[in-house]
Every structure is written in C-alpha cells, then in structure tokens.
C-alpha cells in the first residue's frame, strides 16, 4: 500500500504530472480577483475568505480527472482492482495522494495569497485550519466524482458538473469558519461541521467510489 502511495506521488510530481498546475491556477485566480473588484483594501479584506476558499476549491477540481484516468488508460486500474488489497483502500490511497500533492500545498501557499488579498492578521491561523480540515474532503469527494466518470471519453466537464454541487456543504462550512475566525467571532461550530464532513467522506465515500470503479471496469 505504501508502495502504491509512493508510486502515485512520484507520478504526480514528475514532469507532465500536473503538480504545480493547481498551485499556479490558485495564484492566478487570486491575482485576477483584485483586477475584477478593484484595489480597495477594505473590499478585498471583506471578500478574501470567500475568494481564497473558492480558489482552493477550483484548483483542487483542476487535477481531479487525473486521479484514475491514467491508470484506467494503461490498464493498471484493472490490476489494482484484482490486487490483494481491497479496491476501497486503493481509492482511499489515491485520494490521499491527491490531497498530498494538491490540498497540502494549497493550504501552505494560501497565507501568502492572503497577504495579496489583505486578509486581516487574525485570519491566517483560521485560513490554515479551515483549509487543512476541509481539503481532505475535497480530495475524497473529487475521487468519488473521478470514479464515476473514469470510463467516459469527455469526462472532464461532466466531472465538474457532478462534483461542484457535492462541494457545496464543504465550501459553506469552510468559508464560514474562516470568515468568522477572521472577524474574531466564535467559529467552533463550522470548524466541527467541516471536520465532520471530512471524517464522514473519508469513511464512507471510498465504498461508493470503489463500487463506481467496479461498474466502470465491467
């Protein structure tokens, strides 16, 4: 299992693996927002939590179709499905690998982008906390969406249509936790809800995703 994880990480970080694309996309989205809404720092500070969360979510979406597609094309997904480890564990590992190469770097780079958006100084700890808690759910839900569309030729667009509505609760609680934390308000409830969504997704969605992959490999 660890070998599989290392293999996925290597594939993602090598040339052509798309590592860094998500980060660059996040950076560009964040830079474009001030051009769109104007440079007043008060306005930017107001919308910074939402923009950072939406940006992170979209960057996460960008690399989702790669989670299973390459393995499906060269047939290694068939091998993994018949391997001695359960397919549910494979899905979980794939989601973990996706999180390690997108969610974690996104979380780490977000404070720097927060500076660009004039995020108030009290918000940085909550930015790290909410993204750290929420991005695993984004990767896991995304892996489920990727599993549904893995057999399709033009699955990329459909994948976004399927996954974005599923992202709504995560986005609401994540951005709300960050907004309340930034404003100095009590934000335990949204943080706990966010952690709950992550825990439930990681616990349950591998089964749904593995079922979808089995159907697609049939």
């Amino acid at each position: 299992m660890i070998a599989l994880l290392i293999r996925d990480l290597k594939q993602a970080t090598r040339a052509g693996g798309g590592f860094g694309l998500g980060l660059a996309f996040f950076l560009i989205v964040t830079i474009l927002v001030p051009f769109g809404v104007g440079p007043e720092s008060a306005t930017l500070a107001l919308i910074a939590p939402g923009v950072l969360w939406v940006g992170a979510l979209l960057s996460c979406l960008l690399s989702l179709d790669r989670v299973f597609a390459l393995d499906f094309e060269d047939g290694s997904l068939d091998l993994l499905a018949t391997a001695p480890i359960p397919l549910e564990a494979v899905v979980g590992l794939k989601a973990l690998a996706h999180w390690l190469v997108t969610g974690v770097p996104l979380t780490l780079i977000a404070p720097m982008l927060g500076v660009l958006l004039n995020l108030p100084s009290g918000g940085y700890i909550w930015l790290l906390a909410s993204l750290g808690l929420g991005t695993p759910a984004l990767s896991m839900i995304g892996a489920f969406g990727a599993a549904l569309t893995v057999g399709l030729k033009r699955g990329g667009l459909l994948l976004s249509l399927l996954v974005l509505p599923l992202y709504v609760p995560t986005l609401i609680f994540g951005a709300e936790a960050l907004r309340r934390g930034t404003a100095g308000l009590e934000n335990t409830t949204p943080l706990l809800m966010l952690a709950g969504i992550t825990a439930a997704s990681v616990a349950l969605l591998p089964f749904a995703a593995a079922a979808a992959i089995r159907v697609n490999l049939r």
Partner: protein
Amino acid sequence: MSLWEYANPKKFMQTSAVVLPIFAVFALVTLLTGLVWGFFFTPDDYRQGATVKIIFLHVPAALMAINAWMMMLVTSLIWLVRRHHVSALAAKAAAPIGLTMTVIALITGAVWGQPMWGTWWAWDPRLTSFLILFLFYLGYIALWEAVENPDTAADLTSVLCLVGSVFAILSRYAVNFWNQGLHQGATLSLDAETNIDNAFYLPLLAAIAGFVSLFIALVLLRTQTEIRRRRMQAILARERLG
C-alpha cells in the same frame, strides 16, 4: 400478488396502459379544478393582492421537485439491490420531470418575489437549496446522457443519486446555517399551511393532487417510452447480428 410483479416489463406495460389514462384524466380534472378555482374564485390577499395566487403553481411544483428526487432515490435503491430494469428506467424517466418542477418553482418564486420582496432573487436558505437541487438534477441527467452502456449508466447514476441525496440534505442544513440571521422575510413564503385560510387551502389541495397525479402519469408515460426504446434497441441489435 406482490409489488415485484411489476418489475416484469411486460406486466408493467399491461398495468400502466390501464392505469395511465386514469391518472391522466384525474390530473386534468384536479388541475383544472384547483387552478381555475384558485385563480378566479379566491379572494385577493389583503397584503399581497392577486400575487398570492401564484401559490397554486409554486407550492405543488416545489413539493413535486423534492418528491421526484425521493422517488428516484427509492427506485435507484431498488435497482442496486434487486436489479429490476423497470426501476432504473423509472428513475431515469422521473429526473427531467423533477428538473422541470424545480425550474417552475424557482421561476414562479422569482415572479412572486419581484413585487413582494422587491427582488427576483435573494440568497435565502430555501431559495438557495432549490438552486442546489437544480444542479443535482442537471448532474444526474448529464451522467445518464454521457454513459453509453445502459446498465453501466443505471449503476453509476444510482450511486450518484444515493451519494447526492446525502449531500443534498447536508446542503439544506449547511445553507440554513450559512444564512442564519442575515435574511428575514424568508418565512413569508407561505409554507405554513396552518396559517392559510380555507379559501386558499382547499383549491391548493386540489392543485397539489393535480400535480401529484400529473407527475405519476408523466413518469408512467416516460417509463413506457424508455421500455419501448430498450426493446427497439434489442430488436435492432438482433437484426444486425442476423
């Protein structure tokens, strides 16, 4: 005699051929009653004026939008557990109807909201969750369209429907939480039927009965179409072979 008899497409076609006209006629009668009664023979509300009458379209459509998804959830589960094709086809047949009902509810709500709230749209929990439901319907239908093999499509959409239901309910509560205390006026949406006068309540009941039977008739009709399409594909495939 059990419910599962109707999993046989032949039996389903026979029975639905008998039941469908009954529901269609009943839908026509109750819809006409409810809407004509509602639009012409109810008094204007003392604050909302004639705009209150949109309730006779808005409430039944919203009701059916949610119940259509519930029906799809149940039929998807039956498909996953018992592999009855009619069940999967009924779920497929219901989705566009549910989508239409969602759109009707959203549009009538906007038309009512413009004179009453002074805005076509507000990010109120109820409105927002309907918009999210609309997106779920879109995704579900798009997945049906995208997958070529019908059994694969049925399996994948069923899994999506199950997972989607959980997230739809979660979104409903998340949205409530998100906009708590920001918007008043959301509860003006006349959802409390205990508050409504009988003058509106009785025609509303007729309209709801009409929408329910219309939904049943349309689902039966569309399921018949899907079964016929499946049979036609089978015939064509056989001819290609022979």
